[in-house]
């Protein structure tokens, strides 16, 4: 998280904390007690200007609200900036759902621009139609891009399928036949002229872009060969979708990989916005959030693209160089290291 925040140029660091327990064996009431107990133990070490918790594995907005409530009770004042991941109306930020997916496309647009390409008319194949995938497709098609194929999980058949249409995906149309878990209804998709292919067919599409936005380790040494020759760029919407070995082979083929560190940092940027809004007790309109997100993503991307160009390194290397450099510089400026 330190590196992700650094590359996105957010004035935040990273740390992890948690409670060893299995929520599946606990009632909600017991989970609430644990959340509150945890805050009571750590209250001296956290706070809006000290350390800001956010939800991760097995925790949801509900847990954040319990923690917030306990914290505010202990310190005796309103402290919405103490924690992020809160629902809208309780200190949460608008546009949080869209942030990651939109961020992917903002980054993509900048990367293309640096290669003197426009987003209009570019073709893409997307893996995953959950939060990230959906909003990425929405923005990409809105900005004139063309999505040829989308793969998604089919809960009924317990496997994933790729839905492809050479004329491109109509986002609203497809969204209308998608359940809340990102599963597309096969029959209705067929009626709309989509061809149903095997789950990993998204990887083989004759598109210029691949956007893996589902799970990690989806592009591996054993399937990287299937990536079509038309592909110019892979934008990592998910965390760690490309294995290092596969990335090396892609780079050798001249296919660029926009790293997850940069491409999906829209989410953490929006968490930062949530904290900023909470601290100032002033909540922005959705458009305002998105405008600020865009400008952040643009400058973060520009820095990475620029460094990669100047130093002749991959985008991933550039992203890590920038983030490590920023952290090191801060440490040096503070006199922690020479």
């Amino acid at each position: 998280m330190t590196w992700k925040c650094a590359v996105a140029d957010l004035p935040l660091g990273g740390a992890k904390g948690g409670v060893v327990c299995d929520p599946h064996q606990l009632s909600m009431r017991e989970q609430e007690q644990i959340c509150r107990g945890w805050v009571r133990q750590i209250v001296r070490n956290v706070g809006a200007n000290t350390d800001v918790p956010a939800p991760d594995v097995m925790t949801s907005a509900q847990h954040m609200l319990w923690m917030l409530d306990e914290f505010e009770t202990l310190v005796g004042s309103r402290q919405p900036g103490f924690i992020t991941g809160k629902p809208v109306g309780m200190g949460g930020s608008l546009a949080r759902t869209e942030a990651t997916g939109y961020g992917v496309i903002y980054t993509l647009r900048e990367a293309l621009r640096a290669r003197f390409r426009k987003l209009e008319g570019v073709t893409a194949s997307v893996q995953g139609f959950g939060n990230v995938g959906q909003y990425a497709v929405q923005l990409l098609t809105k900005l004139g891009g063309k999505v040829l194929a989308i793969s998604c999980w089919d809960q009924k058949d317990r496997c994933s399928y790729t839905y492809a249409r050479s004329s491109g995906v109509d986002f609203d149309e497809l969204k209308g036949i998608t359940d809340r878990f990102g599963g597309i209804e096969p029959d209705k998709a067929r009626d709309l002229g989509y061809e149903r292919l095997a789950g990993d067919a998204w990887l083989e599409q004759e598109a210029e872009l691949l956007i893996p936005a589902a799970l990690d380790r989806e592009i591996r040494e054993d399937n990287v060969e299937k990536v079509a020759s038309s592909v110019k760029m892979i934008v990592e919407g998910a965390n760690g979708p490309t294995t290092p070995g596969a990335e090396a082979m892609l780079l050798k083929r001249g296919i660029e990989v926009v790293p997850d560190l940069l491409a999906n940092s829209g989410g953490v940027t929006c968490s930062y916005f949530e904290q900023v809004q909470s601290n100032s007790n002033y909540y922005w309109e959705r458009d305002e959030v998105l405008t600020k997100l865009e400008s952040r993503m643009v400058s973060a991307s520009a820095a990475v693209l620029d460094l990669a160009e100047r130093r002749g390194v991959s985008l991933r290397e550039a992203a890590y160089l920038i983030s490590v450099d920023r952290v090191v510089r801060a440490c040096r400026d503070r006199g922690w290291i020479q």
Binding site: D22, H24, Q25, S60, Q62, G92, C159, L197, D200
Partner: protein, 1061 residues
Amino acid sequence: MTGSPTAGGPGGGHETTAPVERILGDLRERAKELDCLYKADELLSRYQASPEDVFGELVQSIPQGWQFPEVCCCRLRLSGTVYQTPGFYETPWIQKTTVRSHGEKVGDLQVVYLSPRPTADEGPFLREERRLLDTLSERIGYSLVQRELHRLRTGMHGPESGEGSWSVIIQFLRTSDPSLLRRLAQRILTHLQWHGLARPEDLVDLLPPQDEMVDENRPLPFHKENDLADRAQRSFSLAASILGEKTLLGLLQSWVDEERSRFLLDTLANSEATLERVSSALARFRSQGADEERLPAPIATALRVGLVNRFLSDQTEFVRQSAGAVRVSDFYALTERIVDPERSHGRVGGKTAGLFVAWNILRRSSEKHPELKDIRVPNAWVVPSDALLAFLEYNGFGTLHTLKYKSTEEIRQDHPNLIEAFRNSPLPPSIRRGLAMALDDLGQVPLVVRSSSLLEDRPGSSFAGKYRSLFLANQGPREERLEALERAITEIYASVFSPDPIGYRAERGLLDFHEEMSVLIQQVVGTRIGRYHMPSFAGVAFSRNELRWSPRIQREDGLLRLVPGLGTRAVDRLSDDYPVLLAPRQPQLRVNQTPDEVMRYSPRQVDVLDLEANDFCTRSLDEILRECGNRWPLIHRLLSRVDEDMLRPVSPLELDFRDGSYVVTFDGLIAQTDFVRRVALMLEVLEETLGHPVDLEFAHDGTDLYLLQCRNQSFSADSDPDVIPADLPASQVLFSARKYVSNGRAPEITHVVYVDAEAYHALDPAAMREVGRAVGRLNGLLPRRKFALLGPGRWGSRGDIRLGVPVTYADINHAAIMIEIARQTGDYVPDLSFGTHFFQDLVEAGIRYLPLYPDDPDVAWQGLFFQRSENILGELLPSFAYLSEVLRVIDVPRQTEGQVLRILCNAEQELAVGVLCEPGATGLMVRAGRPGQNLDDSEHWKWRMHMAERLAASLDGARMGVRALYVIGGTKNGTAGPGSDVDLLAHFVGTLEQREALLLWLGAWSRALAAMNHLRTGYVCTELLDVHLVDDQALAAGGGFASKIHSIDDPAQKLEMASRA
């Protein structure tokens, strides 16, 4: 209860009118008749009122029971007193009868028509009116005795009562019922003697003389009874002096009460008595105001046992359990809702009996537990069991009784014709009339017609789902509704002769029992919501939880499966949807915790009755909510609002169904109402009273909770404990478990996938993921539902994958059982997952789960078998051979000379064992009285796979231009059902002629297989094969079906051919 008036059937008393009119007329008559009787009973039981009032009012009410009340008058003469309606005079159109009290004439009762009316059975009077008149006079006579007794009783207790007030009783009985007097006198003496209260010398001359010599070959000498009254007088006098007046009168009272129940006992003991006779004896018992609580215990028990035996079941176990739980008075309502009891000797069947007993237990316990007070049962009627025989006889289907001895194939072939024949055959007229009456009583609300077999719900034979339950929307004109009801009943009757129940009965050794099946016609609980009729929610509840998702849940905490709408979706396992699971005694420990899990595993479909289409159907929840969610009672208790990644309770005000962001959680119901507590209490009370765990069906219409069914849980397939022999040879037992064992059946295991804990923990995370991927591949290769997964810690771990192999449900969905092993490391034993990562998927697919703790004392663990047996991983997945140290695949028969692994679970003993045995082993592994319970679903795909292999083996590929043949889809994936196609993929390289020849050849196979499948399963289709041809070009392109051949997640399975092109 009296029978229907036109007992003569077609051609009876009213030839001129249309059948429906006639039925209606009959019903009206019957209703009047019943009204009249009830009114009379009610009046006659007012013993404290003066005779003038009672009899005066009675004669006024009697004419209403006759066909032409406007010209009907009535007169009652009793011991010189005359009670009559105004304007009474004797006319030629008169019906009269004598009133007798204890055999002596005390008066008469007359009914006249003042002007002529059309001729009927007895002048202008109907046959039924004669019967009514006789019944009335009988009841009047009886009430006279009761009045007298009442007068005496109240007199005795009054201030006047003193020495010898019982002598009035003697005087009264001396003339009215000497035999009763004799019995009372005898009993008082026996009482004194038995309790040693009287000196023998006092008794000597009161007891019958003892003969000095009893010669067994000679009749006893006859002693003429001396003055009975005198002997009685002396006996009572003696008793009064010893016991005191009050005790004596108390004894007399209870004996008189007992005498009053004698006729009911006699009727119950008479096996010839029809249901109608029993019912009317019961009605008489009721009209006397007899109080069974005051009866001596043996009599009350005899009555209850007799009634249970007569109406409910002759199963000793059932009689024992229920006789203690029901009261005579409980049967009053039941007997009023039996269709055509006139000639019937039948019973109401298992389903009705179970529900009846359970409901009465709950009602009775509501004093102690007020929460149970308002639990209801839906209004229902019963067609008794022998009506099926009447139907068969009426339509000349007598030969069908031999059908069950035919082969299943023959039965199956005939069955469609039989259904058609049954549906087109009329029910006997008396049953039709009864049904018409039932239909009027039940009203124009949807009905469910359910089989209630006598063999059903016997210990060891759960017929759940073997017979039919049919839903009727019951809308439209009365004639149509009646016709639909009749057709539903005949269809249920046909199901008795369908191959599946017959096969099932044959397996259970019940074939030779004469199957009589009663039919339960129940109102469908619910309200009208838009065009639909459905309950707010419904479900099933079990006393024992066999699906524990946490070690904190005990078996005794029970299990609830809840669904919105009709409960049909909670009863069956669902392939594409999930009910909400709950342990009623620990409702806070939910299966799903994160909002994502809750949403993924929530019900999305609803079963409803569509009143406009007059049909039962399944609708999507979102659709119904949008259409009419606002009218759905209690909906705000069922739903939670999805608010980003938070689920919030909803208030009725904020409900807005235009966006679909709601999910069924039942959170409101659980947290805000006492529903769960009530269900838990129901389970507890029923289990305690009946002495066995129960399995309930229930529904809630938004206002009331209704009980729909109650069965013994140990009879149901999922709760059936295995018998574990105590003397299993230790060498055959691979492992055993003594913690968290659940009942339920695991199939025979031929392959074990074992992940070695130590080796696994030594891997780096990337390699751990590879283990997960390899398991996923094995899942596609090993025989479905025949392999066990054994691994350390938590299968499906996502965060910290050192805790267990990272797999998703799709990676393990063909396993038969998932076993988690917790080895002690240092001083701690890791927590197991209990399958929580995909718990509900496991439940719906019937995949078993078992945790093992090999380091516990008293458990077996043959680690060496798993570590040293030959590992066939390399054979199956050469590319994963490098994981052989970690991942071991054991072909059990190959290792053990043909044996298989059976996992026997017995939760009662808290013991599970994995034991090697012969496939299909009997003796060692016979399950308690139930071999071969429900044909395994996997039979369907196995048969298909087998036939596909045989087809391939006879395919001359060289001649027909086939290079390779593959099987894909459900047959390969082990999901094919009885009606599924067999999907084949042929790599075709031949000419057009070869193509034609191939298609012709395959077509013949296809039709032959379809015919075979029909005989096996009853599913009708003309062809069974679905063949896809791909050529080299398509193969090279790799799209469409061709992509299956090299697919990673769902690869086609290649079949061996006789030859290839």
